[in-house]
């Protein structure tokens, strides 16, 4: 099992709840992922919420919870870093570091993460800004790689447009565009653009078929009670069903999901 987010010929599944909420939640998710033969779990400990009065995450307590669950179920962990001062903490608990869409152009953070990730040999998942062109995204990525970190995976997560049926407009074309312009692998976060759980499966199938190197999906044992982004998270049962469907599409294009 490689320590990177990317495996040639395979599609990495990056699933987990939007926010780490409690031990029981994480244990249910971890057991499900292990049973499905997957290798990563994701969860947010510091939540970049639009309003300062919304739930802001469990912080270090949450990171420790996810690490424990990861150890128990043989899963590596991925979480988002939101400020340079939090890098040492994230680095101490997580196996991969995510930079979120709202920080795509926070160049000082990018630089600091790039240096830290190079030292600790950890992969970085770098999300596209919701209104960033692909050119700007690739250019910003160099703030990470110039720090010495070359194990970077890009992550498309939907664009801000006028359409309101979905939370964001997934730019599925970003997959072939990135493959034509960069050697970096590309993940597709299908939950944030969907915004609603019923749209997630078809977007995930589209992302696999389009050639994505990883898929990110938010899952929760009880989405109705989730502390953030409940409407877009899949239940364990919905996720298990979807995994079966995705594996058939992956097989049709000569890949497996890991």
């Amino acid at each position: 099992m490689s320590s990177t987010l990317f495996t040639p010929g395979a599609i990495t599944m990056l699933a987990g709840p939007c926010s780490i909420e409690d031990v029981e939640q994480m244990e249910t998710v971890g057991a499900t992922l292990e049973n499905l033969g997957l290798h990563w779990i994701r969860g947010g400990a510091f939540k970049p919420r639009t309003s300062p009065y919304s739930f802001q995450g469990l912080g270090e307590e949450g990171l420790a919870m996810m690490q424990d669950v990861g150890n128990l179920h043989h899963l590596k962990t991925l979480t988002e870093v939101m400020s340079s001062s939090a890098i040492p903490l994230i680095d101490a608990y997580a196996d991969a570091i995510q930079i979120g869409t709202r920080n795509m152009s926070n160049f000082s953070l990018l630089r600091d993460v790039g240096i830290a990730a190079a030292k600790s040999h950890k992969p970085v998942l770098f999300k596209r800004g919701m209104s960033a062109t692909i050119d700007e995204w690739l250019s910003a990525c160099e703030y990470i790689t110039m720090g010495g970190s070359s194990d970077v995976m890009l992550c498309e997560r939907g664009l801000r447009t006028f359409e309101t049926s979905t939370r964001f407009t997934l730019d599925i074309s970003a997959v072939p565009v990135i493959h034509s312009r960069s050697l970096l692998p590309i993940c597709v976060d299908v939950s944030h653009p969907a915004g609603t759980a019923i749209f997630v499966p078809d977007l995930a199938k589209a992302a696999v078929a389009a050639g994505a190197d990883a898929i990110m999906i938010e899952i929760h044992p009880n989405p109705a009670k989730a502390k953030s982004d409940g409407p877009q998270q899949l239940t364990m049962v919905q996720f298990e069903k979807l995994m079966g469907e995705l594996r058939q599409i992956a097989a049709a294009i000569g890949k497996e999901i890991v």
Copy 2:
């Protein structure tokens, strides 16, 4: 062989050149489509070009060419109507009538096409405006159906956004959104959003996997010499290869391509 654009459990392939240019071109395309076991050919006779000084299409001569090729190769024909005055002509030559993105809100045209299509029992392919919300698209569609025409297929063809790597941003989410809100089938035009042929195959695969009921792809025997939209058209060889890949993905989701 049904006379509609939609076959339950199947994906209809709507391929052909952007513009009908000459007999040899259409014959090559028609023979390729028949050999692949497909049932429709598409081509433009009146081209809605941004500049009045660009090639405007062969008009009736082109429609006759496409009809002849259709008869020879057992293909039904689809073409765009651009004004109410042209409806009788289109109706005389084509098996299905397309309303293009620039006319999505040309409500008098929609009304007239709806009445004409109801009389001649022909299906209508109704493209989304490049900046129309899904609500507006479905609402505009009622101008067609109130004329008595219920055999309408919607067609997503990409949104106008800030991203310039592709010609438009394909809104792949429109597929599940339409399926959740309407009984009408949905096609995905993958050529116009791509803008460049190398991005077309991955977008077509994504559209099949996302559950589209039809796929529209522009193909040309010699894209470099095409009189319109050359860069986004696939050659016959590229299209044949792609058809093989799409059929494998379709099979993985329990569908066939017709």
Copy 3:
């Protein structure tokens, strides 16, 4: 009094209700405009509504009403044409012909209006498509001018963006951009982008200061009872107050409002 929409050194005010509804409404508006020393009245007789079940306008009856009010109050009339078949009717009643945002790329209509307007020596007001680039707008304009009609005024009316506080995002920059690229004058429709009456005055002031050659504002004796676009229409009192403010800004840049 010139027969064109454009007067060098002046700003033409194009005010009137969204829809022509009844004689009393038009008479109130007409008297107000004459008292303010203005020369044009606008009103819609065929309304391009998103839903076919909304009020569609009074048609020819409405055109006759506006013409009568225009004659009584010495006002020229402007109204929108929505299909080629309606051109003779519009031409018979109106002094200037408007092409709306939804028809910017309805090239057959543009061509037909261009030919008709050249014959009857009437000015054309050509609105920008809500997602059209300025390049596309100027290019589409040539479909009008190639018919022989050179008396065309462009009209910016707001772009479709993600922002929902206003109905559309007014692209005020279109004023200097058009002035730098074209000899055609430019109008700014401030009502449709505003969407709400309270935002209209500040947008109108901005348009005057930015150098617009004409301003379009929707006004109604009783906006709460308007059959279309009520929330964005100003009352007569609000409009009279605004005219005073606009005249001061116009004077500050060496222009008058006519």
Copy 4:
């Protein structure tokens, strides 16, 4: 002379070069501003450039230069802070702290600036994200104010849209929308949306007429040799001419420019 960015009944002019480059440049700008009776100078010392290989600013050396020029010419200074770790440095040299468009959703930075600005009683200029709704912008602003800093001025600076004639699409409607929803004053940065110097004057006039409480304009003694954003900066001569025009429009709406 108040220590805030906002003066009731007046419009604050915030002018200066994009980047602080050398003493001579800053001296020329400072003398011009003082001669015009203005009270603020702005300049960038840490530049958030899309590419890490572009000029990144003079850092503390630049801040000291601007402070010296400010002292000499009786001008207060405004500059952007790009990371929490740089707050003490910015606070030591500048009279007001700017948060840039790329950091609008960098909530940890917002929180830290809010706390620091409350302690040092300095005003904060808070730019809108280039794809942020006004709701998100106002909500994000609470991360600043909850730290105790209530002296915040919002700054509209253009939206990311499909239009490429200008660098961004100035959302002039943000002025009346903010005035209807918030007690905070609003500035309009007219240089970034323009992208080209020839469009700056008309946008500045529009912003004054629309009711902006401050205007931000980039100026440079020799824009052709500027190390960043040269094409959009006005020369001293252009700026002096524009100031005269803006003062006339301001007078027409009962305000003065300070």
